[in-house]
Symmetry: C2
Subunit: 192 residues, 2 copies
DNA sequence: CGCTTGAGTTAGAAGCTATAACCAGACGAG
DNA sequence: CTCGTCTGGTTATAGCTTCTAACTCAAGCG
């Protein structure tokens, strides 16, 4: 196994992984806006510009993190679906994933960085999440006599989940005397 | 009128207004993350640290902008309500306000800046928006036999509006062959 | 065994927020 | 009218950021 990997390549891959590891830790605490390559380099014991051997720019590192976040979410939803969860189960799996690392959720679904434009393949990966949701709604028994197509219902599902979830993560329910978990559950129930 | 204002105070107020004017322009194009006090100072013809005579820090300027944004949104929704708009009308007024300056919407309802903590009075102002919504739902004729209180329905309204709106502003409907306006209208309709 | 490749270094440019020290002009009090 | 204070502006500077350039040194490949 790993026949074609030279020692150099393996070292490089490992350092890249360590960089991303520290990037995730820093991201979880400070958010993506304050993610500093210098700080990561210091934590790794190397100084400043050495990181540019592994990531051409700060944006490229962030792009990699975005890709991984999308993949992680898609995998989470997919495995929940494969485990037999219904649509409501998927919603709670998504919420659990988001609360597990709020900054990771905000990284992909939060305010986009104005200058930064995501590469095409990230949008391809982001579609994977929607694909699972559409599958789930196609398998879901329909309620009314005439019902919107699964893709349309999945989209509506997604906007509602994101609506309550993003407001919760942003702390907009703070002084409002409302239980976010209950509100989320209620909002999911109205979809059925 | 303006009896107690000395010439100094009037000048100071005017410069503050000019600073905020340029801040809004810069915000609309580059977003809050890239808002630069230096750049604003240059545009005003003064150099760098002079701005600190008017705003103690970058955060204080942003706080002022946040306050104004909340006020503007609350006024918009209030006047729409006073003009006789129903709940759906309020939703479209909100969407119009958001599309009019997306960065202004994201400033208050987007990803919060990790270090920055909003002062108490900004949350007080943000409540004003909810108050109008609750008023609108209290005036709305109820549909079902038993219905949730107006505050609860207003909250649900708000999460749905924000859900579809924030995804639209973030560009997450880009390659999805979906009309955001239609999706928004549909989502609002399901509330009735 | 030598040559090439690449990982790491320091130096430095350009930008940012923010503070310190200073200067000059306008304002209010006597 | 004059004097002193207060304030809006300046430049210099510290410390942070991303990122480029030039260089060194060692590891790996042929």
């Amino acid at each position: 196994m790993d026949a074609g990997t030279s020692p150099r390549e393996r070292y490089r891959a490992q350092v890249r992984a360590e960089i991303k590891q520290h990037a995730w830790e820093q991201l979880a605490t400070t958010g993506v806006a304050a993610l500093s390559l210098n700080a990561i380099a210091k934590q790794l014991g190397m100084s400043g510009p050495a990181l540019y051997r592994y990531f051409a720019s700060r944006d490229e590192l962030i792009t990699d993190l975005v890709r991984d976040a999308y993949r992680s979410l898609a995998d989470t939803v997919r495995s929940a679906f494969d485990a037999g969860a219904d649509v409501a189960g998927l919603a709670h799996a998504i919420r659990k994933w988001a609360l597990d690392d709020p900054q990771r959720y905000l990284l992909i679904y939060g305010t986009p960085v104005p200058g930064y434009h995501a590469p095409d393949d990230t949008t391809t990966i982001s579609d994977k999440v929607m694909v699972v949701l559409i599958d789930a709604f196609a398998a879901q028994p329909r309620n009314g006599p005439v019902s919107a197509p699964a893709s349309r219902r999945a989209l509506s599902f997604w906007t509602r989940v994101h609506g309550v979830l993003s407001l919760e993560l942003a702390g907009h329910f703070a002084g409002m005397d409302v239980d976010p978990a209950q509100l989320f559950a209620d909002e999911v129930d109205t979809l059925l």
